[in-house]
Subunit: 351 residues, 4 copies
């Protein structure tokens, strides 16, 4: 209820602050008999690690090494909960007194204070994007489960810093910088990020997440539609401000006769629905898109107030990324994987 | 788990098919001491009733009269569950043999069959938009609770049939056709709907839902962010294909220094965040926008398959709306109201 | 959360007060493809109906006719929620002013008032045993699901009015008055009930619920043990004050070497565990016993206070049973059926 | 759903096997502003540590030192989840090949194998009572929350090895061996345990848990009655085979006129109900009793089968307790504390 558990049958509960001793969590409901090692998870975790080769990536050095504490025996899951921790190694003993009493614009400082009355101001505390490391651990376990059944999830960046990609080489995206779907746009995006970094500013973008091999029939009608749960999963990632399924906003501008996907004996003739009809998977590729806002921590001077309500200005030097992309991509994949693994188990399909 | 319950503390469970004996539901968790009558609910329910003065509105005649069966005593809620039913009066004994074995494009026919193996094909069964009547009942009870505390929810139509409104007179919208925010656009939208109706086609649009008076501090961090739950609530309405919060997709194209809302001693200087920071309400107006796809039932001939997998064509005569707007507006308000009432109770605030 | 929903995958939500317009509920999660009619449910419901041939049975005349409103199409469940209502026919317009302002001893009057500030005092409102009719409806649907897989649940009365049964003819019990497991004790129990009735008093007893054919492997470890969920289900029935599994209290007095059930190649050599080990079914008969307190409504004069805190005396004439047995038996069976159906679905077993 | 999370608003999720790297868990929903240190928790944890001065207590040496990883800042809870671990220090590298392929009588070996197909056989894995250490951590946090509001929970041992205590000095019990409520019985119980130990056998007993200072009005009607949730909480502890509330089984043998607690202007005249009426607290002391079965690990030779279904005999040498009492007492207190803290928050009462 307090918002730190995701899922109904495949459940991830997480904990941890940016500058506390450790992050971690519990994956409950993972079926027995699934091969699982720390290495399998680490591989996914490394993709959201600081310093992913993009110019503006944070200088914080975190190995983000996951340690499994339970639920795995002789290399295979036992059906009991999988506890894990990631120690926070790089908690620099920097002085936070400059931001301790200030509400940083675009951050959760003000709202956490309003809700809790107290907050861990060091690096954003629980509201830091650092919590997403635990989501990735859960997502990688879900990935192992789904992969056995031919369900694959991947993502690519459709737009960054207001510059859309031109080609859409989806399979090649994860191996390019920024998860870019074309070679050409990489340099342009790098230039944009470098420029924005130099200005002490930040940019956002649009990430598309796809799921392949999802059988028809996953999802629940009415409130727990597959797209509703996906929207919930993806909008719950800090920087996301919009979620589209299939045609998304464009669907509002199509006529019905054009927006419907015709069916033929060979299958659907198009996929404007994004692989979901009436909240249930249709067997086509599932398509979700997320608008990622620019990182709120910028070096430029901003107007704000302190905890006494007085006007102050703030510049955030820090070790922050210029753009949440591409580090957010594995997080968005993780949330999609967790959602699908959960529906997989709800459908009565096993390990 | 089967997706027919919404909410954690303020909970709505619904049931009912388009052509079954009745719709209904249970509202559990509504605090004791709230004045409540059938009339209060009926007022809201009437707004989603067929035939709302728009040209293409369905000819089905349903009084949609709600009957409260429990939870209210001497005009006041008792804290026990509020059961209610809405009888289906107009279940015309029409012959459904023409669509019984056909998967209508854009509908849930195929996916329900894939999931359940059986389906009630009469008028879409559970997948019919008719189920939303029960959502509105729940929403109206939530509205009574929230109104006592100064929280108001309303909606307006931002775009219809690819034509955006020009002015944004939000308070006046509910009293205009289509929940239009300007007088001028009403005739244009009516013309568009009439034209599309004549062509045997349908249109969609964009609806904006606003919540006023929400105090700072509602919401939960990480997975159950207020925006995440709103996205879940709104995307769970059948026709919705995208949900945006605040700037939404545009946020992905802003620089950080522009996208952040500066703070001043008088409050926030802007509201690009849509009233939510870090998943918690900031005290500003909450802004969510939904892309509503065109009604999939169109009179034009469409290609599809029957349950034997053979190619067939289908025209859907029926008594269907041309556009889900404005009948969807009270439903989107209801989902927002239910979400806020739920967070209200979670925050420990009472009746 | 407000306590009117039971189950995780097979879920029953109920509503209704003793003297409101109707009782009812929603069964969500029942798999598609299960044959189901009102008659199947009514058969079970009739067993808890007032006037079951025992001398002290309430004189209230209620047909308790269930009406299914959704989720069933052409005699088979569709996988969508099953809504149902039972109209309250016999709401005698009697004057409740005599108990309106009094807290009846042994009843929930005082605690409801403390919790809610208001209460429906007519016949106990929501706290009346009348709510259990809706439990039985849910239980009968669960019974249909489980019976297809050879899982059967029945109950018998082990003790009534302090008089234990001597024989244990379990299969024959449901067809005898009081669900008595031996012929001989029936007359003795009837005499006791008649005597107590004449004194204006009431009695309790002990009911044993058994489940046959439950396969090994149902249940979850740690908090959601099968016995823990059974205890929760059974203790949630108003009159139950103790729940025992297998040997129950006697287990505390055995030595370990005696209490353990030895295993042989032919199976377990005994069943002191009551069919559950480590919270998971062992494949043996499941055995749960419930202590049922005497009906708190007695004709004898009792000391109590009114809502102003003043000392008063009260006699409860009413139309009340002298003993909750045997009308509670189908309710205890229902809770056991609901618990098992829920674990059945959680285990990934289908319809 | 997989049974490793307890609670609705105050939620404990646990993980860990007897011989894995560590136990641990997450406490979610604890309000902000509660003073909390590792020392406060350790104090409670020490009470269930091996070697509590009773003759038969296990020789396993575990410091059971809790480490808090999140959710506490500057000595006060922040409202974010409290992650914790307890490292398993004493995982002796003993050879488990003797029990690896054997189903120990009275243990969960057989049922885990039936459910999961695989199991961690080292020391019982997840089914070991060692998991209860994580429950105690959660319970101690709940204790801090409740103590601020004057709610206190304690336990005493009513019976051990078939020998009941005579006096009932409840306040003094926690400081005596076995949580004995009288001085005299301690030696007798010690003799009994020593004797049973010498015989290679084990004993059980009865533990009573009381809650003082619970205000009237906690609990929910129908399925989630306070007594129903308590029964669920307590029966979920491995060794518990029966749960009684108030008079418990004896209530079944009383007449209604005797079993009801009369009310007077000064309050209730007795407390046979155990502080709960209609599932809601009455403001009196809450009384629950648990029957604790004897430890199933006995040195005596027992008949069983191996995983191939062949008859074998087994003696369990191990480092096991002879009696779960008194180490189970803090666990039963913890489950009561967790249940009450959860209802406390559900009632809208805060920190």
């Amino acid at each position: 209820m307090s918002g730190n558990t995701f899922g109904r049958l495949f459940r991830l509960t997480t904990f941890g602050e940016s500058h506390g001793p450790a992050l971690g969590g519990v994956i409950d409901g993972c079926p027995a008999g699934l091969p699982l090692t720390e290495e399998m998870i680490q591989q996914g975790l490394d993709k959201r690690r600081p310093g992913q080769g993009t110019p503006g990536s944070t200088a914080r050095k975190e190995p983000d090494a996951v340690r499994l504490l339970s639920g795995v025996f002789e290399g295979v899951t036992t059906g009991t909960p999988i506890g894990f921790v990631i120690e926070n190694k790089d908690q620099r003993s920097r002085d936070y007194s400059d931001i301790k009493d200030i509400f940083r614009p675009g951050h959760a400082d003000f709202t956490y204070q309003a809700k809790y009355g107290v907050r861990d101001y060091r690096g954003g505390g629980r509201a830091s994007a650092r919590e997403t490391a635990a989501r990735v651990v859960g997502g990688e376990v879900a990935r192992q489960l789904l992969a056995r059944h031919g369900v694959l999830v991947s993502s690519y960046t459709k737009e960054l810093g207001d510059i859309p990609a031109q080609c859409m080489d989806i399979p090649g995206a994860p191996s390019r910088p920024f998860y870019a779907p074309d070679d050409y746009v990489v340099d342009i995006w790098e230039d944009r990020v470098r420029l924005v970094h130099a200005e002490g500013d930040s940019v956002g973008g649009i990430v598309c997440v796809n799921a392949f091999g999802v059988p028809a029939g996953l999802g629940e009608p009415v409130f727990d539609k597959l797209d509703a749960r996906l929207a919930y999963a993806l909008m719950g990632v800090g920087a996301v401000k919009a979620v589209e399924i299939g045609e998304g906003i464009q669907a509002a501008r199509n006529y019905g006769s054009k927006n419907n996907d015709a069916m033929t004996p060979e299958g659907f003739a198009s996929n404007r629905a994004g692989g979901i009809l009436g909240g249930i998977s249709s067997g086509q590729m599932i398509v979700a898109r997320c608008a990622v806002k620019p990182i709120p921590s910028v070096g430029k001077e901003q107007q704000t107030v302190n905890t006494s309500g007085e006007a102050v200005t703030v510049r955030i030097p820090g070790r922050h990324d210029v753009c949440a992309i591409p580090r957010i991509n594995p997080v968005l994949e993780a949330m999609t994987l967790l959602t699908l693994a959960d529906f997989w188990l709800l459908s009565g399909r096993g390990v």
